[in-house]
């Protein structure tokens, strides 16, 4: 069993939103919707003021509340610990949207970047895309931990995240190395070493969802 997850070091994050942009490009996320969103707000009093940045995406929880709320079993957690939506089964009732404490899941709406024309990127037909990118209007969609990038490698028995090709787009592009991808079930994986060393925490533990995304909050 493997259980893939992320470690996000907030002390390194500079709020550049490259992860946000990379995620959108990689996963054909339409305008107005985000799978990965960088929250930001100011803290402190002048002159000791600074901005807090918290990049957030699907937590790929061990107890996914979206999956529990789905009345048609359209959300599944696969053997690699990735929580995925089955667009064929989804009925668009939004119960997952209501139940997710992190706001990680949203409803796909067909929307183009420009009113009068589609960019070549938007013209790519569904059949040329990975099944995980064949969204349906009115149905749920969310972060897949870029499963399409490392699915083949992991099935061949390789370790994902060791090559750029098998690393989630958001992790790959981070200029400060604030994001780390790894197998939480492997005690020797760097992610587990860093989680222990930096006393990383999960968000909103009170929901008991057991997120697979950890945050480093202090140096």
């Amino acid at each position: 069993m493997a259980k893939f997850g992320l470690l996000i070091d907030l002390t390194r994050c500079i709020g550049c939103r490259t992860c946000e942009a990379a995620c959108k490009m990689e996963n054909f996320v339409p305008p107005g919707k985000y799978w990965l969103y960088v929250l930001e707000w100011e803290i402190g009093n002048f002159p000791e003021v600074r901005t807090v940045y918290v990049p957030m995406n699907c937590m790929h929880c061990e107890n996914p509340s979206c999956m529990m709320a789905c009345p048609v079993d359209a959300i599944k957690k696969n053997e690699y610990g990735v929580v995925l939506v089955d667009y064929e089964k989804c009925i668009g009732c939004k119960y997952c949207v209501a139940a997710c404490p992190y706001g990680a899941i949203d409803i796909y709406e067909e929307k183009t970047w420009y009113e009068d024309y589609k960019t070549p990127y938007e013209e790519i037909p569904a059949e040329k895309k990975h099944p995980l990118h064949r969204y349906q209007p009115g149905k749920a969609f969310k972060c897949t931990l870029c499963f399409h990038r490392w699915e083949d490698a992991v099935k061949r028995g390789e370790k994902p995240g060791t090559t750029p090709e098998t690393t989630p787009a958001c992790v790959l592009v981070c200029p400060t190395g604030a994001r780390l991808f790894g197998d939480l079930d492997d005690p020797n994986d760097l992610i587990n070493i860093r989680i222990a060393e930096k006393r990383a925490v999960q968000l909103k533990k009170e929901f008991g969802t057991r997120p697979q995304v950890y945050y480093v909050t202090t140096k």
């Binding site: 107005g32 707000w41 209501a98 404490p101 009170e206 008991g208 950890y214």
Partner: protein, 231 residues
């Protein structure tokens, strides 16, 4: 003189008789008289009257609640709290009349009040939740968040939660860790901004072993941490 000196036995007997009579007579006059009255029952009548009254009890839903609800929801709630009560009162009266002037009247009044509520409402939130899950309460068949669909039918109409219970604030706090902030804050109903929903309100009812179907698990110390990584 022995003849004359001898007492005449008849005389003596007469004297003794006289004395005895006087004593008895005095005793008769002096002794207290016990008056006992024997009464003969002439008639006994028992009357039982039963009356049944039906009345409709109406409770007014506080305006603080109704003002936040749609007319349809208000109607629904008013119907819920309007119920018919049947009150049965039985009176048994036994009247016994005797021949003498002494009349003994016994009146026994027994009233039994039975209240039957026409539409039994489950007593606890858990029973209500179970009734919803068994499909005994009509909450519609369309799964969805729009008003009129199951989600709001259950929470706002059946459970009677006011809109503000969930739609608490017009905006999430800055440090509220929630990705969909960008859409949720644009939620509107009839042109006016609808409050955002802090998902913390759902935990209590939707935690495992609570009343509603579980989406959230108990966190603290109730499961085994399998990997070396824990927050």
């Amino acid at each position: 003189m022995s003849e004359a000196g001898r007492t005449n036995p008849w005389m003596a007997a007469a004297i003794v008789f006289l004395i005895v009579t006087i004593v008895l007579g005095v005793a008769y006059v002096v002794a207290p008289r016990k008056v006992t009255t024997t009464s003969t029952v002439v008639s006994v009548s028992t009357a039982t009257t039963t009356s049944t009254v039906e009345r409709t009890v109406e409770k007014t839903v506080p305006t603080t609640v109704t003002s936040t609800l749609t007319t349809e929801v208000t109607k629904e709630i008013t119907r819920e709290v309007t119920r018919t009560e049947t009150v049965t009162k039985t009176t048994t009266e036994t009247r016994t009349t005797t021949k003498t002037t002494t009349v003994t009247e016994t009146t026994t009044t027994t009233s039994t009040i039975t209240t039957t509520v026409e539409k039994p409402k489950p007593l606890t939130l858990l029973e209500l939740a179970e009734a919803i899950r068994r499909g005994e309460i009509d909450v519609g068949t369309t799964y969805g968040l729009a008003l009129g669909q199951r989600f709001h039918n259950i929470h706002a109409n059946v459970l009677g939660l006011a809109c503000q219970t969930c739609h608490q604030a017009s905006k999430y706090p800055e440090d509220y860790l929630y990705i969909r902030k960008y859409v949720a804050e644009k939620l509107v109903e009839e042109g006016k901004l609808l409050g955002v929903v802090d998902r913390g309100v759902c935990i209590g009812c939707h935690r495992q072993n609570s009343i509603a179907r579980p989406f959230y698990m108990p966190f603290y110390g109730l499961y085994n941490v399998t990997s070396g990584a824990s927050g």
